[in-house]
Amino acid sequence: MTRKKVKLAFIINDSARKATFKKRKKGLMKKVSELSTLCGIDACAIIYSPYDPQPEVWPSPLGVQKVLSKFRRMPELEQSKKMVNQESFLRQRIQKAKDQLTKQRKDNREKEMTQLMFQYLSADKIMPNISMVDLNDMAWLIDQYLKDINRRIESLSKNGQGQGQGQPQMVAPTMAINGVAKIEDNGQGSNGHGNNVLDMNMDAMQKQHWFMNLVNHGGGGDEAAPLSDVNNHQNGFWQNQFFH
């Protein structure tokens, strides 16, 4: 089958037009037939062309008669409700495409924002080239992300996973994640952010405390908990950090 992109305009060349008509008409009839069979429904098609005074029909003159009668028997409203012509059909498709486009753009923006958030995490700073609107959206995204994290933490904690797998090892003085974001002051010197190193260590110690709690709350020797893939996966990651 030809896969050339056809321009959607009246075909000027007579013989080309006639050839296209023959092919596409055949394809159209086939599609109607398939639709009818696959879905077990009644259908009909009527085609008037300049090549034949009589219209071409599917399934048959009698079949068309039956379907049209069934159609005409319905109340006017029901007949016209889903009735379209080229214009209205195109408008419908345009609306659908618009809606899809809006959604896709929204999703993409969220994805981009998430990437930016990760950037901030690993870069230790918020680049000042961000607009207020983006900032606002970023704040929203962060909240949503935190919600998701908390939800997941809760569900994992309930199932008693993620305990005591050599936890004490993980609490290295330099936190594996560099990304404790700091504000980049535009040359305003360090107001209270001067002692970065100290801050880091403080955080490290707080987190150490946190982890120790986790280990202790493991629920009295629940080491029998099966090592799920998640936990193995986790170990792998942690090990990587130490080899930096």
Binding site: L8, C39, C44, R152, L156, G162
Partner: protein, 219 residues
């Protein structure tokens, strides 16, 4: 690793009644739309007149007609030859011109959509690639409890910093009316416009690949 395929792709199916009802409904919906699309193309390309009537599994009547379903049905049932008055032809010409424009509009939209989809895939791809280096970029569901807790801490700190940063910015523009900092999600994005740049550093998009430009409305 949860890898969901968005669709099964094109599959060959036997032409007989579909056994599963839900499958049947979906098929009807898609194929009906495709059928009308093909009919519409045939009309445009070859200048022919068509009517199609189909009944849905729920017995609703869907019909497509060019120029109109009604006129074609009438013409068929009464075996009357069509009237070709000059007024009639004028209406036709006008209508065809509209259709041409609508087709152009639709094509543009579909192109934009295709571009956005590709962009989305690229971002996904990039994120996946980065996950081996930056574990915190993995989907939340793939992280272990301890990783989550640590990530949570970092993000909370980021949140804090962002808050401080924002206040700082706001103070710096105390002369300029401050923007509405409502807690909206991303729903507002498509009303963005660069007028916002008054007094705020709206720098060009950062040198790396993240584009946070304002999107204008399409078409």
């Amino acid at each position: 690793m949860s890898k969901k395929k968005s669709s099964l792709g094109r599959q060959k199916i036997p032409i007989e009644k579909i056994p599963k009802k839900s499958h049947l409904q979906v098929t009807f919906s898609k194929r009906r739309s495709g059928l009308f699309k093909k009919a519409s193309e045939l009309c445009t390309l070859c200048g022919v007149e068509i009517a199609i009537v189909v009944f849905s599994p729920a017995n609703k009547a869907f019909s497509f007609g060019h120029p109109e379903v009604e006129s074609i049905i009438d013409r068929y049932l009464t075996r009357n030859p069509p009237q070709e008055s000059s007024a009639h032809q004028l209406v036709e010409a006008h209508r065809n011109a509209n259709v041409r424009d609508l087709n152009i509009q639709l094509t543009q939209l579909l192109n934009h959509l295709e571009i956005e989809k590709k962009q989305g895939e690229e971002i996904e791809h990039m994120r996946k690639a980065r996950q081996s280096q930056f574990w915190w970029e993995s989907p939340i569901d793939e992280l272990g409890l301890n990783e989550l807790v640590q990530l949570k801490g970092s993000i909370e700190e980021l949140k804090n910093n962002i808050g401080k940063f924002a206040s700082k910015c706001m103070m710096e523009q105390s002369n300029v009316p401050s923007p509405n900092m409502g807690a909206n999600g991303f729903g507002r994005y498509d009303s963005l416009d660069n007028k916002f740049g008054l007094g705020i550093n709206i720098a060009p998009p950062p040198p790396n690949s993240y584009y946070l430009g304002f999107r204008n409305g399409y078409l």
